[in-house]
């Protein structure tokens, strides 16, 4: 069985089962813990609205807090947008997406995708180096951060190599494509167990914060 056959077949199959299993395991395991009810008198009504408001507003920190984190903020947005655009707007990815969703959408020329992927990869690398150099980040970082960062970059690297048809170190295209898919499998398998879960956790956490602060009468 070739690398590509393995990646497209059993590897992906196992990866996505673990992905779904792990996500449900973790989400249910978190949200079924005790919710301590809050009996205090809310200062303001519209708690749900407060939650939704904060889901949006936490994307834009207030000026006083933003001062020293402008680069981190902009680069964070930059790589996320470039990464998802490169994933979602690359033509050959559409059949991959369509097999789950049943529909596709218009895509961008490959040269654009390559540029976006290069931007995402550069920013990810810069942020990784920053994580290793900046004292605050270095102290906070766990192996999760490095594993997640690496596993996020790998599909980009292999994807760029495969789409550019680089015969990297003599690796043939179909093998490269297989390796690209394997890196996606690795990402899927790791996803539920590391920080990548913030894809699912961020907005509920912001909502929680929004409800709490709305109750206190503070714009979150």
């Amino acid at each position: 069985m070739s690398v590509l056959d393995f990646a497209r077949g059993p590897a992906f199959h196992v990866a996505i089962v673990i992905f779904v299993f792990g996500i449900c395991w973790r989400l249910v395991g978190i949200y079924l813990l005790r919710w301590h009810p809050d009996y205090s008198r809310p200062r303001r009504g519209g708690l749900i609205g407060g939650g939704v408001h904060s889901m949006v507003m936490r994307s834009l920190p207030p000026h006083e807090l933003e001062k020293h984190i402008v680069f981190q903020h902009v680069s964070g947005y930059g790589w996320h947008l470039a990464y998802f655009a490169a994933f979602l707007l690359f033509g050959p990815h559409i059949p991959f997406i369509r097999q789950f969703l049943g529909f596709g959408w218009p895509t961008l020329p490959n040269a654009w995708i390559l540029a976006l992927a290069a931007i995402a990869l550069t920013l990810l690398l810069v942020l990784l180096i920053r994580r290793m150099v900046n004292p605050v980040l270095r102290a906070l970082s766990t192996s999760d951060d490095y594993i997640s960062s690496l596993l996020t970059m790998l599909p980009l690297i292999t994807g760029i190599a495969a789409s550019a048809h680089l015969q990297l170190l003599g690796v043939r295209y179909e093998t490269l494509l297989g390796v690209h898919l394997l890196t996606v499998c690795a990402l899927l398998i790791w996803f539920p167990f590391g920080k990548l879960m913030h894809l699912f956790l961020t907005f509920p956490a912001r909502f929680q914060a929004g409800v709490l602060l709305q109750r206190k009468g503070v714009e979150a």
Binding site: A7, G9, H13, V20, I30, R34, P95, N110, L181
Partner: protein, 355 residues
């Protein structure tokens, strides 16, 4: 005179071919081998002295498609000219003689050219039961081993001989294997394809003829000149791929405009062959030009590599039902974890109150 003692140039001259005709032959041979036109004089010089090689062709579990590809498409053609320059001493399908006379011819040729003849094989070899395919009561595997012993090299023609092919497709009822699974001590050149490009077959013979040596091979032992690049790399529709213009169905606007067939399952990106440049039916067209994606017939296990219409970027993932089961199982584990933690939390509270 033993036909293999004659040089190619002499063989051609004896047929009344002029020097200009010979030069033309050399030019088209260069083109055939995908060699630059600047090498024509080298080829001419080599052919001056090359001896006509003896070729023995064994057909096993095959459909004769490979032979058809070689003989039917361009008759009479350059390829036939090449055949005139070799000495095809045994080819069961084409041979006028039959039965024991044919076998006799084979043995005679083997004896006369022991150690120097080329063995061409088409079809896979069944190992499940020797009776599945026999010639004159001899099983394919026995015959192959016998003839291979005296061969200078073996040319596995077609995907069946090269990689096992359709007979080997799951569940492989005959236990079919490729030539290279049986013969391990001889140079083997695979010319895969279902069928292979006739020029690829003749080019290998021509190479052997001109330079007396075997061509440079890729990881699957295929001549790099034909199998060095993918269909996708040489496809005239490649610019559409790069621009992100894809046919979404066989009858949509994109299909009519001749856009890339990737999303319709074209295996061009992972298929190494020269169809996109050499083309079929005397250079008329090739599948993608006819509007159908490449099915990857020159690749190992192409028959079991998902559907012909499954785009390369699709995967096996089990479907929503399976993922639903995975989700339910995950949720159950998560719920168990959470409930256990809840009771631990309550126990901590009770214990604190009591102390």
């Amino acid at each position: 005179m033993n036909p293999t003692q004659q040089t190619v140039a002499a063989a051609l001259a004896s047929r009344g071919v002029s020097r200009r005709g010979f030069m033309k032959f050399c030019a088209t041979t260069a083109s055939l081998m995908a060699l630059p036109p600047s090498l024509v004089p080298t080829i001419a010089a080599a052919l001056e002295n090359a001896r006509r090689p003896s070729v023995i062709w064994l057909p096993f579990q095959e459909c004769t498609g490979c032979t058809e590809s070689l003989t039917r498409s361009h008759a009479p053609t350059l390829e036939s000219l090449i055949f005139e320059t070799i000495s095809l001493d045994y080819q069961e399908t084409l041979l006028a003689a039959a039965g024991s006379a044919a076998e006799e011819a084979r043995r005679a040729a083997m004896k006369a050219n022991w150690g120097n003849y080329l063995l061409a094989v088409d079809g896979s070899i069944p190992l499940g039961n020797p009776g599945y395919s026999t010639i004159g009561g001899v099983s394919n595997v026995e015959l192959l081993k016998e003839v291979a012993k005296g061969a200078k090299a073996i040319v596995a023609i077609g995907t069946c001989a090269a990689f096992g092919g359709l007979p080997m497709a799951h569940p492989n009822p005959t236990g079919a294997v490729a030539v290279s699974d049986i013969i391990t001590d001889k140079p083997i050149i695979n010319i895969s394809g279902c069928p292979p490009l006739p020029v690829a077959i003749t080019a290998v013979l021509a190479q052997f003829l001109v330079f007396g040596q075997l061509p440079e091979l890729d990881v699957h032992r295929r001549p790099k000149v034909f199998f060095g690049q993918t269909i996708h790399d040489r496809c005239y529709r490649r610019p559409f791929y790069e621009r992100g213009q894809f046919a979404e169905s066989f009858d949509d606007e994109g299909a009519k405009k001749g856009w890339c067939l990737f999303k319709l399952g074209c295996k061009g990106p992972t298929t190494y062959n020269a169809c996109a440049t050499v083309k079929w039916n005397m250079g008329t067209s090739f599948p993608i030009e006819a509007g159908h994606g490449c099915i990857g017939c020159s690749e190992p296990r192409f028959w079991d590599a998902g559907g012909f219409y499954q785009p390369l970027s699709t995967t096996r993932w089990g479907g929503w039902e399976q993922l639903g089961v995975a989700a339910a199982a995950g949720a159950a584990v998560g719920a168990a974890a959470a409930l256990a933690a809840r009771s631990a939390g309550k126990a901590a509270k009770a214990q604190e109150k009591s102390s």
